[in-house]
Amino acid sequence: MAKVIGIDLGTTFSAVAVMEAGEPVIIPNAEGGRITPSVVAISKNGERLTGQVAKRQAITNSENTIFSIKRLMGRKFNEPTVEDDRKLLPFKITKAANGDAKVVMGDKEYSPPEISAMILQKLKMDAEAYLGQKVTEAVITVPAYFNDSQRQATKDAGKIAGLEVLRIINEPTAASLAYGLDKKVEETIAVYDLGGGTFDISILELGEGTFQVKSTNGDTHLGGDDFDQRIMDWLCNEFKKDQGIDLRQDRMALQRLKEAAEKAKGELSTIQQTEVNLPFITADASGPKHLSITLTRAKLEQLVMDLVEKSLGPCRQALADAEKTAAQIDEVVLVGGQTRMPLVQEKVQQLFGKEPNKGVNPDEVVAIGAAIQAGVLKGEVKDVLLLDVTPLTLGIETLGGVATPLIPRNTTIPTAKSQIFSTAADNQPSVEIHVLQGERPMATDNRTLGRFMLDGILPAPRGVPQIEVSFDIDANGIISVKAHDKGTGKEQKITITASSGLSKEEVERMQREAEAHAADDAKRREEVETRNAADTLAYTAEKTLREHKEKIPSDLNQEVESKVQAVRSTLQGTDINAIRQAMQELNEAMQKVGAAIYQQQPPPGGEAPPGGEPPPGKEGVEEGTVEGEFREV
């Protein structure tokens, strides 16, 4: 089935995403990056370069390297913004016969859609490589302020790249979609987009699933790059104060400073201070010089405060244009890498009086939204099977009142699972299957979904019968539990329809309780496990005495018997340490038994007891054999 991709065709970077199994995912490019520079170039030997590679060679080939082509999309050569851009951009901009702006690359004229198409082609190819299939359709995003001719130019770019553009959507709309805001009823949404080089604010109104742009504003020359520059300037000034050397004159030092500034900025979004540490940054007659400066978040915020505040003016203007007050904004969405900065989030929150939506990677949120729109157009989002998960763990009660999980919580349903259990006592005729739901390790703390008996088990020593318990949950959450005695072929089952009878609040309460009691529960579980282990040990010891009576000296026999009694009497009480102590002593005595038996002569294989019991007297008898046994009934 052909996939439709969602493309964020940005001024400096572009990204592409697709719906997969009902979830949007970003498609990494061939170089392994999640975003691709919107740069195209023709190298001196006529080769066309796109993305990261084109960016890397820009300095050597500036007249044939085209970037920021988005600024020229659908524009006339004589427009004032184009005149401004002509002064800033290093490549040649010319006038086409119809008055459109064109660019020159490798001695050839290209229209802006042709250049954009080269970027789209690269994204298309990367998507095809990722998906392993042809891609022919796309949804592409544009700024909310794009006019008809700019939108048409973007559509044309898609066509040239071999993509049928199913829809052009606004970037703020895409960002809102990524947060699922289209599912709300009627709302007013502010989308604050602070990217690398540009700032946009849009006020949208949502009604009946459609977004309407009420107003837009922004600053075409404000972004994260300005923040980096502030940090670099400060580092240079500090270094000059300290060492008297101006690093601005040293190209190599500047390169290292730039990387360090970006890194420090990123780190200060999560920690309070960081060290910019650049040893051997430069040298003078007296020797090498090192840069080692601590930058705190507070200092960073002081350095860039005016930049952040500069973004608030357009926000207020956009509100005024939309005839809204800040209090009338229901949702705020953050877009662009620079919105990771806590100060930016704080100021935005202050202005609009509510916490912004975050959580989706702000560099990727627009492409994600475009992919969701693509999925909706293809009917994929609506139709995709919504698979549920089990909100709580399902299991059964086993020896000592322990809840043994079979299907852990958050398992996607439908699912099935089975496990073999056994009896807890010799000649146990029946087992009770007690079906439980919940996160607590003890059966009594969980919710009982149902219980039933499987009887007719043939007389056998404990641990020998094999009872297979199977859980099966269908897509509607209906659980059937089946117990099957492998020896007799007897079977019993129960179907539980009330599995989802719990409200969301109840599920949450049970999960909370499980967390709150985690430490207590672990202790109780350990107690039960110790008890079970002690019981098994006593049982095994008695069995060993019975089976090897003639090989064991009578005084040793008596010693073991009394220690077995000691274990059993401690099991009557509640002192876990006493049980452990008694077990320890019995274990030691049993080792003597083992030694006595082996001294006589190693028992031939034929004499080994049936049922594959482990050789008696060995260490580790207490562990493993009890797990999964049913409580005696």
Partner: protein, 178 residues
């Protein structure tokens, strides 16, 4: 297979003649639903197969490139160590202690190389943006890397950090040739 479905599902005895239209309609609806379900099932299956194929591919890559992030954080330290050693004051260069530090640097480099790291040799080669990032141009042979500002590295066959280079602009060379 799809042709068999209607005969299996409809029970003719129960159906009254007057209801035949209703039944036809119900059948059409059921068919439509079955087709939609089949389409969705195929889609889910296709998604799953693709996902499986890609996760196998990714698992292989993950093994090979799991160390990329770690390498990228260690490279600046290797750079710093090299810088320190290349600017050893002359009066100290002969000290055994400095030799020891040199050995540490060599050991670090060898350990990283054993994990698949290799240095990109750029100096004197034609500028290639697949491996190099041009930081500026200067007098020198046209299109040739005349200076490495920061060493570039590959992990296995992937560039994890391009070499930061200065590229010749052809000026000096012409003068020499004239």
């Amino acid at each position: 297979m799809r042709q068999e479905e209607p005969t299996n599902e409809v029970e003719p005895e129960v159906a009254e003649v007057e209801d035949i239209d209703t039944l036809k309609q119900a059948l059409a609806e059921a068919k439509k639903r079955a087709e939609a379900n089949l389409a969705n099932w195929q889609r889910a299956q296709a998604d799953f197969i693709n996902y499986k194929r890609r996760s196998e591919q990714e698992m292989a890559e993950v093994g090979k490139f799991a160390n990329t992030t770690l390498m990228l954080t260690l490279l600046p330290i290797l750079d710093d160590l090299e810088r320190a050693l290349t600017s050893t004051p002359p009066q100290m260069a002969k000290l055994d202690w400095v030799d020891g530090i040199r050995l540490i640097e060599r050991k670090l480099r060898a350990s990283l190389e054993a994990q698949g790291l290799s240095q990109i040799r750029a100096l004197g080669k034609p500028f290639d943006p697949n491996f190099h990032e041009a930081v500026r141009q200067d007098k020198g042979k046209d299109g040739i890397v005349i200076e490495e500002l920061q060493k570039g590295y590959m992990l296995h066959d992937r560039v994890i950090r391009p070499t930061m280079v200065v590229v010749g602009n052809g000026e000096e060379e012409e003068e020499k040739e004239e």
